[in-house]
């Protein structure tokens, strides 16, 4: 059993809710590196789901996860309070992000992608890279970890679809401006919804700027045992949980990923309906 040490609601617009939990898992906290994730199962009847480690404190043994309430399991996670317990919590999984010397790194986070991006931004900043961060969301209310990101970025930009905050437009609008201003960029890291990562990769491909993306494939075990998380990268099948989750954005078959992620859409609805959360906005 893994204890919930702290809970915080990061966003609650009535439609979108994002929560942060600190879970007591000292072994995971000790081994965590940016890019890692955990698999958790809330209770006996629960499914195993992957979540990125947003932060970890080796001293207190706390592992921070940030989840967007999109379906049954994440909503159940959102109902937990400090003092509650999670049945299973295993990690850290995946390959840690690996940065060979990069002078100027542009870190792009879309929506919830900011959560997994944040530990990487912090790490890059602390190890001497020049960090430009671009954060995008549908509107102002959905911008996550703004002050944390700002603290560890040399340049910081915000883009919202509706213009309610920062630049009106997409993260690629700002990236294009940066490239046009002739600022040399050594590496782009983009984490967010697949259409965003695909758009960023398409843009940087033209300028031959190395681009890493982090995939959120469907997973069951997270240890290379099932192949549920497979993805085509450069024409080869890879397992996201052991070969990733970060891959070269110029080589990933995003359309296949998108399709595989929607595999259980009908079943996911079925669970929500069973729980009485089948309405437009689900159980809030």
């Amino acid at each position: 059993m893994y204890k919930v040490l702290r809970k915080k609601v990061l966003t609650d617009t009535g439609v979108d809710r994002v929560i942060l939990l600190d879970i007591e898992a000292p072994l995971v906290a000790k081994k965590h590196k940016p890019g890692h994730f955990v698999m958790l199962r809330i209770d006996e009847k629960g499914e195993r789901v992957p979540l990125t480690i947003a932060d970890a404190n080796p001293e207190t043994g706390a592992v921070t996860i940030i989840a967007q309430e999109v379906g049954s399991t994440s909503k159940q996670l959102g109902r937990l309070e400090a003092g509650d317990h999670i049945l299973d919590f295993v990690g850290p999984l995946g390959q840690a992000a690996h940065y060979p010397e990069h002078k100027h790194v542009v870190c792009i986070g879309g929506g919830l992608g900011v959560a997994p991006l944040y530990p990487e931004v912090k790490h890059l900043y602390q190890t001497g890279s020049h960090v430009t961060s671009i954060v995008g969301a549908r509107n102002k209310d959905l911008i996550l970890l703004e002050s944390e990101m700002q603290e560890y970025s040399h340049e910081f930009y915000i883009a919202t679809d509706d213009g309610s905050y920062g630049t009106k437009g997409f993260v690629t609008t700002i990236l294009q401006e940066l490239i046009d201003s002739n600022t040399p960029v050594d590496l782009v890291i983009a984490i967010g919804p697949i259409p965003m990562m695909k758009a960023v990769a398409n843009l940087t491909r033209k300028y031959e700027i190395k681009t890493l993306v982090s995939l959120n494939s469907l997973m069951v075990d997270g240890t290379g045992m099932c192949g549920a998380c497979r993805v085509t990268v450069g024409g080869e099948t890879k397992f996201t949980c052991i070969d990733g989750p970060e891959f070269d954005g110029h080589l990933v078959d995003f359309d296949e990923q998108m399709r595989r992620l929607s595999m259980y859409k009908d079943k996911e609805k079925e669970v929500l309906i069973q729980e009485g959360c089948g309405g437009a906005n689900g159980c809030q």
Partner: protein, 466 residues
């Protein structure tokens, strides 16, 4: 129905089977086991050979003659204890051992008729003992030394059991949330009830073995960490969990599963009770399973129980099928179709990206190859299409790379299997031992157990002389 089944077992006591119609409606165990009378009468068929060949066929060298003699006298608990001297998981082995290739193939009675049903007797006395006898490993003086066992499949369970008998302080680490390895996530309930596996695990706990689930060695803790934590030896029984695919066009379409994923969703995560249990599985009306080993039969029979019509697709002929004969028979009784000499060519999807059909090519048998099996070759122009909603690929597994990637000093062969001494289980790192599927590649429960036992002896020897 039950009458013609008896006919197949002329000579030996027949095993009652669940009726075909009941089987495909649930996950209850299919083979129902012997009654006391049946067990005694079957045991009496044994000739008590002077040089019992059967024993040589058993990878863990059970004193088969003796346990059968005790069974014939109705001394079931004593018979059980006799088996336990050599085999720590008899209720499991009695069910899933390929007896027909191991102990029973050597039985002298088999020369003229049907061999003594050693596996069924082993199962009977174990089931009997599970209900009647509170088993206990008692160790007199603690050896005081800590040993870590990594992986809780048959290899790990056997190794931990042996080490507990020798009074070591044993901690078993398991990546999954439940111990048991393939016994838990792979082999389905209808062939091996999970209660039996849990019972064996409880037994180890009572003997003082600590079990830590949700710990991945190579990620959560490294082998170096284990030594720093005071463990003086480590056993690696991490299995062959990495599923192979064929590399076919369309293999990543929605609805194409590895057998591991399909079976894990259904068995370990209980997707057959979705949505009460939250893990979904997608099974349409038509399922095809590629491959013909035990894993393929398990996947096919599982899909059948989830309501689909099912076909096995196999490149060679029925004679070459690696699955146990009994499993192939059960699959047929349950209405599973067999497309033999059929080579999968590509997978075709619908406009939404779900698998729609599989294209195969008909093969014929040519000259024997190096393995002595006749090599299948394609019949030109024989392509055919099978409509499917779900495709399960069951063409084998390799070793999981997590431990070896995190431990560069650990020597492996070209397939990534850990290299371990056959006599002791020792690897290239002093104090680190290995056994089971991670060493041999996908094999059998009893072989993995045997390797776990050998490594326990190797570890004991190493720590005694250290």
């Amino acid at each position: 129905m039950s009458v013609d089944k008896r006919a197949r077992f002329i000579g030996r006591e027949p095993m009652a089977l669940l009726e075909d119609e009941l089987r495909v409606r649930g996950f209850s165990e299919v083979a129902l086991g012997y009654t006391e009378e049946q067990a005694i009468s079957e045991a009496k068929r044994c000739l008590k050979c002077k040089n019992p060949k059967c024993q040589l066929g058993c990878p863990v060298n059970i004193d088969i003659k003796d346990f059968i003699a005790l069974t014939a006298e109705g001394k079931f608990i004593e018979a059980y204890k006799k088996i336990k001297e050599k085999n720590s998981l008899p209720a499991v082995c009695g069910r899933v051992c390929p007896q027909e290739e191991q102990c029973e193939v050597e039985c002298i009675v088999g020369l003229k008729g049907e061999p003594v049903a050693i596996g069924r007797l082993e199962r009977f006395v174990s089931d009997y003992a599970l209900t009647k006898e509170h088993k206990k490993i008692v160790c007199e003086v603690s050896a005081g030394k800590k040993v870590a066992v990594v992986g809780s499949g048959p290899a790990g369970l056997a190794c931990a059991g042996e080490l507990a008998k020798l009074c070591y302080d044993v901690t078993m680490y398991e990546a999954f949330h439940e111990p048991g390895g393939v016994l838990m996530y792979g082999i389905p309930e209808f062939r091996l009830p999970k209660g039996i596996v849990k019972e064996e695990v409880e037994f180890l706990k009572e003997a003082g073995v600590k079990i830590e689930c949700n710990v991945i060695i190579g990620k959560t803790l490294t082998i170096d960490d284990l030594f720093e934590m005071g463990f003086e030896a480590v056993f690696l029984g991490t299995g062959a969990g990495l599923p192979y695919f064929l590399g076919l066009e369309g293999e990543n379409l929605n609805g194409v599963y590895s057998a591991n994923e399909f079976l894990t969703r259904v068995n370990l995560m209980r997707a057959y009770r979705f949505p009460e249990y939250k893990t979904p599985v997608y099974v349409g009306n038509h399922v095809a399973v590629i491959g013909a080993g035990n894993v393929a039969m398990d996947a096919a029979r599982t899909a059948r129980r989830l309501g689909a019509t099912v076909h096995i697709i196999y490149r060679r002929s029925e004679e070459e099928m690696p699955a146990r004969k009994e499993e192939i028979e059960h699959a047929k009784e349950e209405g599973i179709g067999f497309l033999t000499l059929a080579n999968p060519m590509k997978v075709i999807g619908d406009e939404k990206g779900y698998v729609k059909e599989i294209v195969c090519q008909q093969m014929e048998l040519g000259e024997p190859d190096e393995s002595g099996r006749r090599r299948p070759q394609a019949i030109p122009g024989s392509e055919f299409t099978l409509p499917v909603d779900t495709l399960v690929v069951a063409v084998g597994q390799g070793p999981n790379p997590i431990v070896t990637q995190a431990t560069p000093d650990l020597a492996t062969n070209k397939w990534g299997n850990i290299i371990a001494d056959e006599q002791t289980g020792a690897t290239s790192i002093p104090g680190v031992y290995a056994g089971g599927d991670v060493v041999t590649g996908a094999a059998t429960v009893i072989k993995a157990m045997g390797a776990g036992k050998i490594a326990a002896a190797g570890i004991h020897n190493y720590l005694t002389n250290k």
